[in-house]
Symmetry: C2
Subunit: 704 residues, 2 copies
């Protein structure tokens, strides 16, 4: 029978769980090995099947009315002779009848007893964000108590399936740790891949649980198959990339911006937006819309957007929610590309209906809606501050987005205090329409943007995000702060795999696979955003620590291990070369401890050597404040050496930790301005930033 028919029959019968034989049929159709078996209608038939498929066997009652077979005494394990099978048939049948006298009994399943090797779990679930997702883990305690499981979007390629085997903490076990038999990796990966194809081809399959799968050096057999079916998930509506780009370009580089609800009155949102557009230096047309004014802040005002001569690219809404729908109709008729929906009072206050209404109006007119419930957006290359906050003008190359207004304000404050250069700051708010993948699609091709950092609480379309992120990551880092990490969704799960698919583990695995650099917290996101665009990409994994303080060296080494960085094993000739510059009681090796109290030349020589030797790929500097080499002397020296070596083509990421009195703060600012990511009073932060840069570089394929 065709898999489609199997599924349809179950659905037609109102069943969500497929029977074991049905599950087996699906497995067979996809080349997923299951134990040999047959359905027996009599004791003699059972013995015959057992001898054919090979003893020992398991007997299981088959009845649509008996779900918990074991409770019913409907399972017998390890029958070793034809005689035992014959007797067992009677026992199972009698037990089942005693348990539920009315049960319809289809027969007794005779199944080859498999076991030995490694017990693993392969499954699939339908994730609300990402759709079909495949899971893999080692069976037993490891997956159930320690949750040692890994997820991937379905379908899974052969390479990805192989990578999954290495992505669990106990991966070593499958390679034959403790004298265990190594598994046939190709066979096990193949089985994972097949499960991915099965659920991709048949979206009606909600969950698959192959648990246990027995994997050994000879192959992988799914001993137990549990498949749950449901409704076909709705298709996600996605616009073609070109259309997104066309609209987003009009939104970020508008020739004209209308402010609906523009006001001359201080304290009004429509006044703040007008001021910020003007004070920010936006050079396109600014069009105040207000039925009661002729002029606002020196600019001619219009009663309605319809009255504006010529095209309008963007309409910023600064009016109460109840007036939005009518104004949006007008803006749509006018042909605006983007409606910047500042007003609150939609889904976030329970007004989901109002939100649906504006989305419907916007769709009808082909208008993209940013928000509602946002602070607006900034795009510095156009001097565009379409927001009710304050202008921000430090141009730079990172684009930041936030789902929450509070986080947006934190981005703005942090940017201002650190003078972080940004290309864009965008509030996405309720994400009624424009979401992160739309923005990624724009930033991907935006030459003003070299890195993207996004705060998000959820994704409307996980797959759309992954696809966009994968493209962007090839060229630019994408940093994500996913809030709600620890809120394990209380999910009604019909399978083991479902129970394991806590929101965050799925997010974490899939974002990592998409090449996204996940920030563990808000401050990390901000620091990564500030620092990553400044650092050149590393060309290899060899990191060297050069430190004036042995104490910092130890802490920097700890931090490198935490950040997944590789401390270079310094070859003898390089060791000799470093030793030539440091005191005899200093330590070459890695960290290179140049010792305290050294003059600037010792820092200069060793840093220069570190930049010049092509076997070294990144430097971590530990500075110790002394009278001999004061903080600003160190900063200027390092900046100069880095610049000189850059001239010679020696471009490498350099980060620094400065330990000293308060002058080190100024020195760090100076270094930052000169492309060296430096922090005072912390050994962790500079290394964490370097680690983030490396995570991106690996995802972008730069270190293969």
């Amino acid at each position: 029978m065709d898999p489609r028919e199997v599924i349809e029959r179950a659905r037609a019968e109102g069943r969500t769980a497929l029977t074991a034989p049905e599950g087996r049929l699906l497995c067979e159709a996809y080349g997923i090995a299951t134990p040999g078996e047959g359905l027996a209608g009599s004791a003699g038939e059972a013995a015959e099947i057992a001898e054919k498929i090979g003893l020992p066997v398991v007997l299981k009652i088959v009845s649509p009315d008996i779900l918990h077979k074991t409770d019913a005494g409907g399972v017998l394990v390890g029958l070793r002779t034809a005689e035992e099978v014959r007797e067992g048939y009677g026992t199972v049948l009698a037990n089942a009848r005693a348990y539920n006298p009315g049960a319809k009994i289809d027969g007794v399943q005779v199944q080859q007893l498999v076991g030995g090797g490694h017990e693993v779990i392969v499954g699939a679930v339908t994730d609300p964000t990402f759709g079909k997702v495949v899971a893999f883990g080692l069976g037993g305690v490891l997956v159930e108590v320690l949750k040692d499981v890994t997820f991937r979007l379905a379908p899974v390629s052969g390479d990805d399936a192989l990578a999954m085997l290495d992505d669990i903490r106990a991966a070593e076990v499958l390679r034959g740790a403790r004298g265990a038999e190594p598994v046939d990796r190709a066979a096990l990966a193949g089985l994972i891949e097949r499960v991915g194809r099965l659920v991709t081809d048949h979206p009606e399959i909600a969950e698959v649980d192959l648990n246990p799968v027995f994997a050994d050096a000879r192959g992988a057999v799914a001993a137990d198959v549990r498949i749950i079916v449901g409704d076909r998930p709705e298709e996600v509506r996605r616009l073609p990339r070109e259309e997104i780009l066309r609209q987003m370009t009009r939104i970020f580089k508008p020739r004209s911006v209308a402010v609906i609800g523009a006001s001359a009155e201080n304290g009004k949102i429509g006044n703040s937006v007008m001021r910020n557009l003007i004070d920010g230096g936006y050079r396109g047309r600014i069009l105040p819309i207000n039925p009661k004014a002729d002029e606002i802040l020196g600019l001619p005002a219009y009663k309605s957007i319809a009255d504006v001569p010529g095209d309008v690219d963007v309409a910023v809404f600064a009016i109460p929610a109840k007036f939005v729908a009518a104004a949006l109709e007008e803006a749509g008729e006018k042909g605006v590309a983007g409606a910047i929906m500042i007003p609150s009072g939609f889904a976030e206050t329970g007004n989901a209906e109002g939100q649906r209404e504006i989305v419907e109006i916007a769709r009808r007119h082909g208008v993209r809606v940013l928000g509602p419930n946002i602070y607006g957006y900034y795009y510095t290359p156009e001097n565009l501050c379409a927001t009710f906050c304050t202008p921000y003008d430090v141009r730079g190359s990172v684009a930041l987005t936030s789902q929450s207004g509070g986080i947006g304000m934190a981005i703005l404050g942090f940017s201002r205090t650190t003078r972080m250069g940004v290309s864009a700051i965008v509030g996405v708010g309720n994400k009624a329409d424009v979401d992160e993948d739309d923005l990624l699609t724009f930033f991907e091709q935006d030459d003003n943007t070299k890195a993207v950092a996004m705060h998000l609480e959820d994704l409307k379309d996980g797959r759309g995000f992954v696809a966009a992120a994968r493209r962007v990551v090839r060229e630019k880092p994408v940093i994500v702060l996913k809030a709600g990490r620890t809120a394990m969704g209380a999910r009604a799960a019909g399978s083991h795999t479902g129970a394991l698919a806590g929101d965050d583990k799925v997010y974490d695995d899939i974002l990592r696979q998409a090449g996204v650099v996940r920030a563990p917290g808000l401050n990390d996101m901000l620091e990564y955003a500030r620092a990553l665009p400044l650092l050149p990409a590393p060309r290899g994994e060899n990191v060297v620590i050069i430190t004036g303080a042995g104490g910092s060296g130890v802490l920097l080494s700890d931090a490198c291990v935490d950040a997944g960085l590789t401390l270079m094993d310094i070859p003898p000739d390089l060791d000799t070369a470093f030793r030539a510059y440091i005191p005899p009681f200093g330590a070459a090796g890695n960290p290179i401890d140049i010792t305290g109290g050294e003059p600037p030349s010792t820092y200069g020589n060793t840093v220069r050597l570190g930049l010049a030797d092509e076997r070294i790929h990144a430097l971590v500097l530990g500075y110790w404040h002394t009278i001999v080499t004061p903080p600003m002397v160190f900063a200027e020296l390092v900046a100069r050496v880095v610049a000189e070596e850059k001239e010679k083509g020696n471009v490498k990421p350099v980060v620094a930790s400065l330990a000293g009195d308060t002058e080190v703060e100024e020195a760090c600012e100076y270094l930052f301005e000169h492309g060296v990511v430096a922090y005072p009073y912390t050994t962790e932060k500079p290394v964490a930033v370097l680690g983030a840069k490396y995570r991106w570089a690996r995802a972008a394929g730069l270190l293969r």
Copy 2:
């Protein structure tokens, strides 16, 4: 045979590994269950023994001439009846004779067959820092691949042994997860306790490996015993607490400080120390010692410390290493309590001999040596800046120590920039003599010190530290930054347990047991040091988040889970009470989302309720910068409400995360000054600090 004799015999024979029967003897002497066994000389005797110790059994030929028993057919496993044992005896004997007709045969060993239940490992090692340490873990993959193991100082109390069962990641398994049989916890803990006593009573035992131990509902049996013996470790020299305290009090509260190598010449260390003592405002006698000067910086100078009239409490050394020994002899003869040994050029540059020499001189005179190779020390209650750095005068209640000069400088810079109030900053450098337990002994009883933060790379006397820390922690938090976390010592190990005892895991478990709050990095240590003394101790685990930004609320919740905090389950009456103050679309529950755009009164009412309701034990505030409630309005309001509720006896820790434009920085400073730990642009840091406070409060027994 007495355990002592067993060990001595092995050592006399030049053996380090005990034989299986020897190991068994030691186990028996300590009540550690091993499988029952006996040596049979006849088939009848074999059956008799088997029935006595319990069937099933294993039979093994015992012959000095047959090493590979299995190859000789000399092992039979799983004999279930007396009859099988009788027959088996003959089989084993016949096989052995066929294998080696000339073999001398001592008999057949009859051994109880154990297995089933849970396979666990119990062991002990001799740690270079902590001495005898007991280990526990689940056997197999969990301990060997995932290193899921826990350590405690030996001896282990019954309660600690029980706690060890819960301290592994897979603890659930022993409680019967996945339908497994729960173990007899008392029996297993008893076995751990006995191993602790065994190695404590017999320090010559270097390592113990009971692997596997089979633990089930009926008990715990060590199926395999491996014991390694060696030399008795040296006893650690410890001074009586009273003596330490007498000396430390003279050092921290000296009536007179001599500066050996005092100088009038700018740039000299002996000049900086003099200036800092004078400029710092020290009010005791300052005694410059310099053979070539009559007066230094306006103070009469002495040729030698011997010439000083009256007692001298402290001598600060500011002379080159080569002159130290002679000057220390003089200082010793003068009866100083402390030699503050700033000079470098000792063990850290390879001059271990020079360091040993000064320790010997100091011991002879009863002088305590701080250093060498340090920046000196500060003790603000006495205005004492005995250091070559710069004076620091912000009095406060945290004492900080560092093993590295660079980290000391970072402490100073951070303190100055955050205006952190400190009682002491102390460099311990090479720790030739004074170490962390000496300092803890002083800070324990120092009313000027409410918290202690220590950077350390190693401990000279781990047990001394633990004993001191345990005492201090009852009253004051002890924060430790242990550097070298990730440098797993490459340790020559003769056992499984030894191989598992990587430096950091042992440190981590034992520091935690001592009640120490371990800081993950330098900046964390500094922030904990700054914030912990400001926060009152919580009286219970119920944490409530009140936030103006939903986005911050989600991130703050994540941070609470990360920090091991418990988000209170708000009871219905309290929920109603909160709802009365927030807009209808806000969310009570926890986080309490008061929504953005709210006036100060909403923050005020909810924070007041949070402080007043006695079921709530700590508050985490999330502020969102708006025009309606600007940052300083929020800060002053919260400070006022906290102060008012404090008047009423409602004293609780309050931390805050401020999201907004740069004005939030000033607001955070204001809040900090008013006892509310507040940070801008981060949701993680305030919660991490609260988490650290809670870790201490739990260790101090305040939350039981």
